[in-house]
């Protein structure tokens, strides 16, 4: 019995020493997860192609991706250089490393535009705010998306008014069933989502959208979003799009009572 006790004491001593040398105090690599790769796409919608690049600066890490919406595995395509996307795609990517847990997935859409309406004539009432005019109304149909860096951008039109009316005169009649507005929300920068959008053909209402929750605080700082508005399916060559801003910045915000901004960089027809 005595020997057995000594033996177990020895075992205990050894286990404690072992613990100290390996995993006793410090975190193991296998318990730590990588974060997803940083991605950049020159425009999330495009006429011919968009260029995608990934980055992740950590030694010995690998970025792998898919473009057909399938799950990313250790056997997926290894990213090395920026590449072009030619069709509407759901792109997914993860970071792999021999020591660490694989990252969560990052995914985003690249949208090939069905119609090129860059020759449409566009009027906006009122005019955009003086610092956020991009290249005028043409920027709304140039198939180039803005990024979250909205200052000094030639992509974003910013409006500081309760309502904005866009009139689109297309160069020919197109069969349409959907209008898509691409916009930014950045509440810290006073940029809110519209609370309603109505679409008219001449004077007839053909589609509408509303969101009563846009004055609520959104987690995170800023995001880019598509708002899709179904319209009565028909051939159209003229559209009037009325975008309603919330009246005042809500109480929870430091700029409460001020008129918020609307930021729009593209109007897409399908």
């Amino acid at each position: 019995m005595k020997y057995l006790f000594c033996f177990f004491s020895l075992v205990l001593v050894f286990s404690c020493q072992q613990q100290k040398e390996t995993t006793g105090t410090f975190v193991d690599t296998g318990d730590i997860q990588l974060i997803p790769p940083i991605y950049n796409i020159d425009s999330v919608f495009f006429k011919d192609q968009a260029t995608v690049d990934f980055s992740f600066s950590y030694p010995d890490s690998e970025i792998r991706y898919t473009m057909d919406g399938s799950e990313v595995t250790a056997a997926s395509e290894l990213y090395s250089n920026p590449f072009n996307v030619h069709k509407t795609s759901k792109i997914k990517a993860k970071v792999f490393h021999k020591d660490f847990k694989t990252s969560d997935v990052v995914e985003f859409d690249a949208k090939k535009l069905k119609y090129n309406i860059s020759d449409a004539a566009i009027t906006t009432i009122p005019s955009p705010g003086s610092n956020y005019t991009a290249n005028g109304g043409k920027s709304l149909v140039d198939a180039k998306s803005g990024t979250l860096q909205f200052r000094n951008s030639d992509r974003w039109l910013g409006f500081n008014s309760p309502e904005v009316v866009f009139k689109l005169k297309l160069s020919r009649k197109l069969d349409l069933s959907k209008i898509i507005v691409h916009l930014m929300t950045a509440q810290n920068s006073w940029i809110f989502s519209p609370h309603a959008i109505a679409i008219y053909s001449d004077t007839k209402l053909i589609g509408q959208y509303s969101n009563e929750k846009v004055d609520q605080k959104i987690a995170g700082d800023a995001s880019l979003n598509f708002i899709e508005i179904p319209i009565e399916e028909a051939p159209y060559d003229f559209l009037k799009i009325v975008v309603q801003n919330i009246e005042k910045i809500p109480d929870w915000h430091p700029a409460t009572g001020q008129t918020p901004w609307l930021f729009i960089d593209e109007i897409i027809v399908e």
Partner: protein, 345 residues
Amino acid sequence: MKRRNFIQNSSLVSAGILFGSPVLNAMKIYKDVIIGHNNHKYKVDLNWGALNSNFYPVNNCHEMVQDSKGRIILLTDDTKNNVIVYDKSGKLIEAWGTEYPGAHGLTLNVENGKDFLYIADNKRHEVIKTTIDGKVVQVFKFPKESGKYDDPAKYIPTETAIAANGDVYVADGYGSQYIMHYNEKGELLNTFGGRGTEDHLFGNAHGIVIDTRNNADSTLLITDRMQNKFKRFSMDGKYLSTIHLPGAYVCRPVIHKEYIYTATIWSGDGSMGTGFISILDGDNKLVSAPGGSTPIYNDDGTLQPMHQALKIFQNPHDVCIDDDENLYIAQWNSGKTYPIKLTRV
């Protein structure tokens, strides 16, 4: 996570000794994580300072300092014990403080050989100076005399810095973004800054420190967390220059030897849980980012945007550097966890 591994490992090792070596050989080889870059690399101890939360709870762990006795002092906004004092191994020495519901900024200053603490309380809208054991000696109240405030609620101080001559600077980082400059008696000498995006203004003046690395010419380094910058000001409040830290939502700058240390609470687009630690050298260049991406400077001298690389930190809020060059990381909104220790390798 580590405790579980320890238990698994030690039982495997015991079994290995009992039954011969095959089990030992089959044991997975664990590698300690080493984070950081260049000469600033660290192992990670997630369990440092963990206490029984029924007796010594923490809410947000906001800031930490080391006192003249070498003890590590943590400030939390749990009013059961706003201040928790540890030794460097993480053993509890004492806890005190029940009257700091918005305990946020913690600065230690040695005055005539004695340690004093300056607590910026963002719910009380004032700064409280205490002895090292918690006796209140001075209160810097809401600065009505500045003429900048019509309501104490708009003054939400986050940090203090104390100059060699005893002058006290307070950053109103969650309020109206002014910097208050007092003399040691608490008389307001100057007010500068304010909200805005211009060089001399702030989006979130979250931290302030006196940069004494150039002895002849002390300056103020003030955080603009929204703008991912540290801004340098003269001691009388004139804007001088900016250190750009793209992608890094930095908390207060902490000066230790020739380096600036800071907790980057968020990175990238500023979403939650994306933090890491940043270390700048004497030329204010990023030399190490424990938990973050490898620092890369472009040919024109600009820093490529920083991002979190490993999920180790959630929302790190402050860095304390001890006399062994190890780091202690206090975290905001991290599920009431105790600080993390980084041991330099």
